[in-house]
Amino acid sequence: MDGLLSDRIARLENVARRERAIAIGLLALLMATGQAPAPTSSGPVIITSSTSSATLDSRGLTVRDHSRELLFAGLDSSGKPSLDLSDSAGRLRESMYLLAGNPILRDFDAAGKRRAEVFLAGDSGNGEFLIFDAAEVRRLALFHGSSGLPEFALYGSDAKVRAYLSTDDGMPYLGMNDNGGATRLVMGAYTGGRAGMDVRDSAGKALWSQPK
């Protein structure tokens, strides 16, 4: 009887050892492959690799290449929705954001100068497209003028308008100015609904005009 019991106990001990080993193996498998619970975090979540890192915090997502910020999408330090793209030197080169609530997309050169932008004007909501030179002077614009009329304008390096093409609901008109700001050539709508063109001197005197 004792011998029989001893055999049964020995078998049980073997089974217990085997199942303990299985339990440990399962635990290891769970640790290695189990899904993390859906977390709510108060601190940033950072994912790193040998070349870059991405940080997700309550304000948005920032991607860095070593110490340089290359991309940001979220709410900036002023609370503006913003998408910022920076070059390999970490300089901001393109930004799409809401400035005082109004949408704007800006491109910057390597010196940090604003060179092109599209936006809606804050007061009217009218769209504008602007091109600037290296000194950040406006040289070309597509926009709605103060009276809401669509306009194409070219500017000198002094930021003064040299040529403009615009229209109201009647007829369009084209104007060309000299560097003194005087209009030297006009083409298009004249008062009374007639169409014509004239060339003027710098004092504004008509030198030639048609039709007579």
């Binding site: 217990a16 492959t33 304000r59 306009e151 609901d169």
Partner: protein, 221 residues
């Protein structure tokens, strides 16, 4: 009470056997759960898979939510201000909204074609940059009634053109060029051409002024 050592042993062994059977059933259950839910670990340095959105909050109540469709940023007032990802229509999209939660700027693929739009504070589309159905780039400015007033685009024949429109959305002026010569055309509210300068269809270059009845008032050369 009659209790011999052998009887105690038999009882204890019996309990042990029952316990092992029970544990075996439990272990099998765990195995099933593991195989039903386990995921292989990724090759990246750090790879974590979440079965539901990851939410990061700060003390103000602002939050960033990373879900399977993208990243959503909500401000402290609870308004969605930024979305980057794939929108409800399956389009890759970047959306920015103002403090009232109104969409003001969006960059996305519309029917797989790139599109950038800006909206005013009442939701009207006022500026648009995109590729059209012919894959030509265009810039469009619209007024507060969403009527097209200015356009930079390529015509059906591929010529680049700047066009101005009245509040009736009818063409008033176009400045364009083909491979021969550029031209400027000005029209009145009825659509009649009143001034032409530049290349004519016959290949000549000049300019003319007409009245509303299309009578030439002056022409040169």
């Amino acid at each position: 009470m009659d209790s011999s050592p052998s009887t105690d042993l038999v009882a204890r062994v019996g309990r042990l056997e029952s316990s092992i059977k029970r544990n075996r059933v439990l272990a099998l259950g765990v195995v099933l759960i593991v195989f039903a839910t386990a995921q292989a670990s990724g090759p990246a340095v750090l790879s974590t898979t979440y079965s539901s959105p990851l939410i990061v909050r700060d003390a103000s109540g602002a939050s960033a939510t990373l879900s399977s469709t993208g990243l959503t940023i909500v401000d402290a007032a609870g308004k969605e201000r930024t979305f980057v990802g794939v929108d409800s229509g399956g389009r890759p999209s970047l959306d920015q909204s103002d403090a009232s939660g109104r969409l003001r700027q969006s960059m996305y693929l519309l029917n797989d074609t790139p599109e950038f739009r800006q909206f005013d504070s009442v939701g009207k589309r006022r500026l648009e940059m995109s590729l059209n159905s012919a894959n030509d780039g265009q810039l469009l400015l619209s007024d507060q009634n969403e009527k097209l007033r200015l356009a930079l685009f390529r015509t059906a024949s591929g010529d680049p053109q700047l066009a101005l429109y009245g509040s009736d959305e009818k063409l008033r002026a176009d400045f364009s060029t083909d491979d021969v010569s550029p031209h400027l055309v000005m029209k009145d509210a009825t659509g009649a051409t009143r001034i032409t300068a530049g290349g004519y269809k016959d290949g000549s270059i000049g300019m003319d002024i007409r009245n509303a009845a299309d009578t030439v008032l002056w022409k040169a050369p």
